[in-house]
Symmetry: C2
Subunit: 530 residues, 2 copies
C-alpha cells in the first residue's frame, strides 16, 4: 500500500489536534502541517489569563508543545506558509507559491475577529484584536508602558473574558466594556447577563450597553472613541472583541459548500462537499444534540471534536461526529456563567425552572449560592438545556447537566441521580437534584412556576412577598405565618392569581404548595428575586 | 376527607427530609417526628470538618435548621422520645411508654457504628464513635485538654474522613489510622488506596494496615491499644470508625422483612413488607442502576433519595425510587478519591481503562493531575462505573460520569461530549473525553490496554519503558526514538508480547499504536506507573 500524504492547513488548535489524531490512526502516512503565522499556537485559551498575570509565559508553553508534537507525532510543521488556493480536482494546494500535493486535505482555518467598519480604528496602533499571541504581546507592551484606560469593544464571550483578565491585573486598570446590543452575554438569560454586569462593575469595571461605535479619533494612537448616541470615551488601549466569524474564504474559492450562517458545510464524517477534503475547527457548522439542526459556535470543544473526527477519517478511519451541546462557560470577575444544550426555545411545550442552591455545605467557608435554570419538555420531562450562574462549582453543575442531556435524562432522573457528597464538594441534595425535583413538581401542576417576565408583563397577578413582614411594593405574608393568615390571602386572591415571591424561589414554592392546597389559585416566582 | 397522621421515626437526616417531603405532598396531614436523642441533627456530614476547624459551630446550625423546619414545614418534633415497639396491625408505636397512633409510618433509624468486641474498649472514656454531635463534643473536649496522640480505628470512608479532619487541626496532632484489612478504602482500587495512604502519610499521619485490635489497657482511660500481631500503640484519644451497619431491630421485631446483607427490604415505593410502613435512610437496601441488584451503602444520597420517596408516598403521593450508583467521595489530606457505578466487575466482558489528565489548563497555577479509570462493557461500550483520584475537579469528573452512567452513555459518547471549557476549569479535551477516546481505541483493538495486575502476574511480557533513556528494571526506548529503533523492538518482542510503560499511560498508548502498526504484538500499561 503506498504511503498516503495528508496535508493539514492551520496551526492554531484544531489543525495540530487533527494531525495528531491522523498519526494515531495511520503510523505510516506522511503528515504535513502548514501554518501562515510564524509559529503554531496552542494557547488561545490562555490569552485572557496572561493579561491578568495568572500565566507566566504562553510562548514558552507553545514552544514546548511544538517540540513534543513534532517528536511524538512525527508531523512535519511548516510555519510562515500561507495556503492561497486549493485545486480540489488536481489534489494540490498553492502554499506561498509552491505546489503541495495531497491525498487527503484537512482544513482547519478557524475563525477570525469581526472587523468593525469604523473610521480610524484599523489605523491606530493601540487597537488590538484578541486572537493570537501577537495580539497579547502588543497589549502587554502598552500596559507595561503605563496604559491605564482600557476599552474592550464587545460584550460576548471573548470581550467578557478579556475584561475579566484586565480586571485581575495589578496595579488596577480602568476597564470599560462596551456592548453594541442591549446587554452583554446575550447567549445567556437577561437575568444572567445582569449578574455578569453587576459582578464586573463590583470589580471596578464600567459596562456600557447600547453603544454603537462610529469613529475613533487620534490618528496613529486612538485617543477617543465616539458613539452613535453622541457620547465619547477616552482610551489608552482598545481591544476589539466584537465576535468572530468562520474563516471560509479558501474553501469557498475552491468550491466548497457553506451554510446560510456562513459556516462550512460538513457531513458527520467531517467531509466537506469536495472530494478528499475534510474540515474541522470553529469554521464548521455542527449538529445540535437536542434540536438536530446545524448550528455554529466558536467553542473549543467543537474545534477539538471535529479535529478528532477529521484527523481520523483523513487517515483512513471511520469516525462520526455526534451532536454537540454548545456548552460554554465564562468568568465575569466574581461570578461564573455557564450554559449547555437548548435554552432558546420559546415554544409552549418548553418549560423553565430556576432554583437557587448552595455550592457545598453552607457550614463550611466559601460556600456560595448558585442559580440553576433548566429547560425541559413539559410533556415528556426530557431535559433540553441549562444555565448555571454562581461561584466555584458552576462548571461542575453545567457539565453534569451536559452529560444528562446527552443521555436524554428527564427531570425526574435529575431529581434522583446520586452525585458525590462530602461537605466540601456538595450538599447531600445537590442543586441538580433540587432543580429536577422542582421541575417535576411544575410538570405535575402542583406548584405553577412563573418567570419574572410573565409576572412583570401582566397586571392581574397579585404578588405576595413571603420573606419578610413587609415587602417593597407588594403585600407581605411571611411563609411561617401563611397557614394562620389564609383568610387574608383569600381576600387578596379575589383580585387575581397570587404569585408568591421570595429571594431564592424556595420559600415562594413552599407557599404556593400550601395555598394551592387550600384551593387558592396561585403560583410562585421561579428562581426568586435574587 | 379525614386528616391523616404521619409519624416519622428518626431525626438525623432522612427523617426530617421525609417529614418535609410529606408536608410538601399533603398540606393538611398531621406530621409528628420522634427522635430519641435530645435534638434533631442535620450535621452528620460536618463532623470531620468541625474537627479540622473548618466549621465554627454545628450545634448552632442545627438549632437554626430545626426552627426553620418547624415553622416552615409545620412538623411537630418530639426529641428524647425513643420508639421501642411498632404494632403494625394496630397502627400504633410505643414511644417511651406512650402509645402513639399513626395512619402511615416512616422509619428512618439509619445506621449505627459497628461495635468492636474488644476488651476494655467500651469502658474507656477517651474512646468515641463518630456519628453524632455528642461524639464530636466529647472529642473536642479532650483535644482542648491537650490530647495529642489520636488513633482512628477503621480505614473506610468514616475513618479516613475522621483522620483527614484530625490532620487539618492546628496545632498538629499525632494521627494514626489503623485498618484491620490489608488496605484502607477497599471500595477503591488498590492503586487508589495506596494514593490515599501516601497522601495521609505525607500530611503526617501513620497508616497501619493488617492490624487487628485485641485489647485496650488503661481502664477508664484507654492508654494503649494492643494488636493481634503483638504490636502496641499508645493513645490519648481513640475514635472507633470501624464501619456502620443498618439499624433495623425495631422494624425486625415488628416483623418487617430484611435482606441477607442485613439491610431492610423495601420496594420501589419505599414500602416495607408491613402495611402502611415506609422506610428510608441508610438502613435500606436499594437497587443498583447498573447491575439491577440490591445493594446497601451508607451514603447521604441514598438517605436523601429514599427519604424523598418515602415521605411523598406516606403522604399519599406515588413516587418511585430509581436505581442508585453508589457514588462516593472522600478527602485523604491532599488527594480526593471518588467512585460511581459498578467498579467491582471481574467478568471478561468488563474492560477497564485508566488515563491521567490535568484538572485544568496546565499553564494556570494549581493545575493538578488526576487519574480517571472507567469500567465499561467491552462489547457494547456501555459505561458501567468509574473511579477518579486527584485534586480539585475530582468531584466534577465523578459526577459527570455518574450522569453518563445513568444516561446509559457509551465510551464513544464520553469521547465526544462537549463539556464547559475555559482555562481555569478544564482543558478543551477534558479527562472524561480522553478516557472515552482511549477506551474506544481499546475496544477497537488498536491498542491493547493491560492493567498493572495483569503485567505483574505474568512472566512472558516484555515491559519497555518509553519515558526515559533508561528505565528501572526494564529496557527503555524513549517514545521519540521508537520509530528509528523498531528493529531493536522486534528483537525484544521475540521473547513475548511487549507492554509499553510510561508515567501517565499516554506515551505508552502512543508507543503501542506505533509498534502495532509495524506488526509487533504489543499493548500498553493502562494508567501508567504513576
Amino acid at each position: 500500500m503506498p504511503v498516503s500524504k495528508i496535508v493539514v492547513i492551520g496551526g492554531a488548535f484544531s489543525g495540530p489536534a487533527a494531525a495528531a489524531r491522523a498519526r494515531e490512526t495511520d503510523e505510516r502516512a506522511e503528515i504535513l502541517l502548514l501554518e501562515r503565522a510564524s509559529g503554531v499556537s496552542y494557547a488561545i485559551g490562555g490569552l485572557a489569563h496572561a493579561l491578568g498575570g495568572e500565566v507566566d509565559s504562553l510562548a514558552k508553553l507553545d514552544r514546548e508543545k511544538a517540540r513534543f508534537f513534532r517528536d511524538t507525532y512525527n508531523v512535519e510543521v511548516r510555519t510562515g506558509v500561507e495556503v492561497v488556493a486549493i485545486d480540489a480536482a488536481r489534489h494540490v494546494v498553492d502554499a506561498s507559491g509552491e505546489n503541495v500535493p495531497y491525498d487527503r486535505l484537512v482544513v482547519a482555518t478557524g475563525a477570525r475577529s469581526i472587523v468593525l467598519p469604523v473610521e480610524g480604528l484599523s489605523e491606530a496602533r493601540n487597537v488590538f484584536r484578541f486572537r493570537r499571541l501577537s495580539d497579547l504581546k502588543g497589549i502587554l507592551r502598552l500596559l507595561e508602558r503605563g496604559a491605564k484606560r482600557v476599552v474592550v469593544l464587545g460584550g460576548g464571550y471573548f470581550g467578557v473574558e478579556a475584561a475579566d483578565g484586565f480586571l485581575r491585573r495589578r496595579p488596577k486598570l480602568r476597564v470599560t466594556l462596551v456592548e453594541r446590543g442591549e446587554r452583554i452575554l446575550q447567549d445567556f438569560s437577561p437575568r444572567a447577563s445582569l449578574r455578569a454586569q453587576e459582578s464586573l462593575e463590583a470589580a471596578g469595571a464600567r459596562v456600557l450597553a447600547n453603544r454603537n461605535l462610529i469613529s475613533v479619533s487620534g490618528g496613529k494612537i486612538a485617543r477617543e472613541l465616539r458613539f452613535e448616541d453622541g457620547t465619547t470615551l477616552p482610551a489608552d488601549l482598545v481591544v476589539v472583541a466584537a465576535g468572530v466569524e468562520p474563516r471560509t474564504d479558501l474553501l469557498k474559492r475552491a468550491g466548497a459548500k457553506t451554510r446560510a450562517d456562513g459556516s462550512l458545510w460538513i457531513d458527520s464524517r467531517c467531509s466537506t462537499s469536495l472530494p478528499d477534503i475534510y474540515a474541522c475547527g470553529v469554521a464548521v457548522g455542527v449538529e445540535h444534540a437536542v434540536t438536530g439542526k446545524t448550528f455554529w459556535t466558536a467553542q473549543a470543544a467543537v474545534a477539538d471534536r471535529t479535529a478528532q473526527v477529521a484527523g481520523a477519517n483523513a487517515a483512513g478511519g471511520d469516525e462520526r461526529l455526534g451532536g454537540m451541546l454548545g456548552t460554554a462557560i465564562v468568568r465575569a470577575a466574581g461570578v461564573v456563567l455557564a450554559r449547555t444544550g437548548w435554552t432558546h426555545g420559546r415554544e409552549p411545550e418548553v418549560a423553565v425552572t430556576r432554583i437557587h442552591a448552595p455550592s457545598h455545605d453552607p457550614f463550611l467557608p466559601d460556600a456560595s449560592d448558585m442559580s440553576v435554570e433548566i429547560h425541559f419538555d413539559r410533556r415528556q420531562g426530557r431535559l433540553l438545556g441549562a444555565e448555571v450562574v454562581g461561584g466555584p462549582g458552576t462548571d461542575k453543575r453545567i457539565d453534569v447537566l451536559a452529560a444528562a442531556i446527552l443521555g436524554r435524562l428527564g427531570v425526574s432522573d435529575l431529581a434522583r441521580i446520586d452525585l458525590a457528597y462530602q461537605a466540601p464538594f456538595a450538599v447531600a441534595r445537590d442543586a441538580v437534584n433540587v432543580a429536577g425535583t422542582v421541575a417535576s413538581a411544575t410538570r405535575s401542576g402542583k406548584a405553577r412556576a412563573y418567570s419574572a417576565a410573565e409576572v412583570e408583563g401582566a397586571k392581574d397577578f397579585v404578588v405576595v412577598d413571603v420573606d419578610a413582614k413587609r415587602g417593597p411594593g407588594a403585600p407581605a405574608i411571611p411563609l411561617e405565618e401563611l397557614r394562620e393568615r389564609l383568610a387574608e390571602l383569600r381576600r387578596l386572591a379575589e383580585k387575581g392569581p397570587v404569585v408568591f415571591r421570595s429571594a431564592t424561589g424556595r420559600r415562594g414554592y413552599l407557599a404556593a404548595r400550601i395555598a394551592a392546597d387550600s384551593g387558592i389559585a396561585c403560583g410562585y416566582l421561579s428562581g426568586g428575586t435574587r
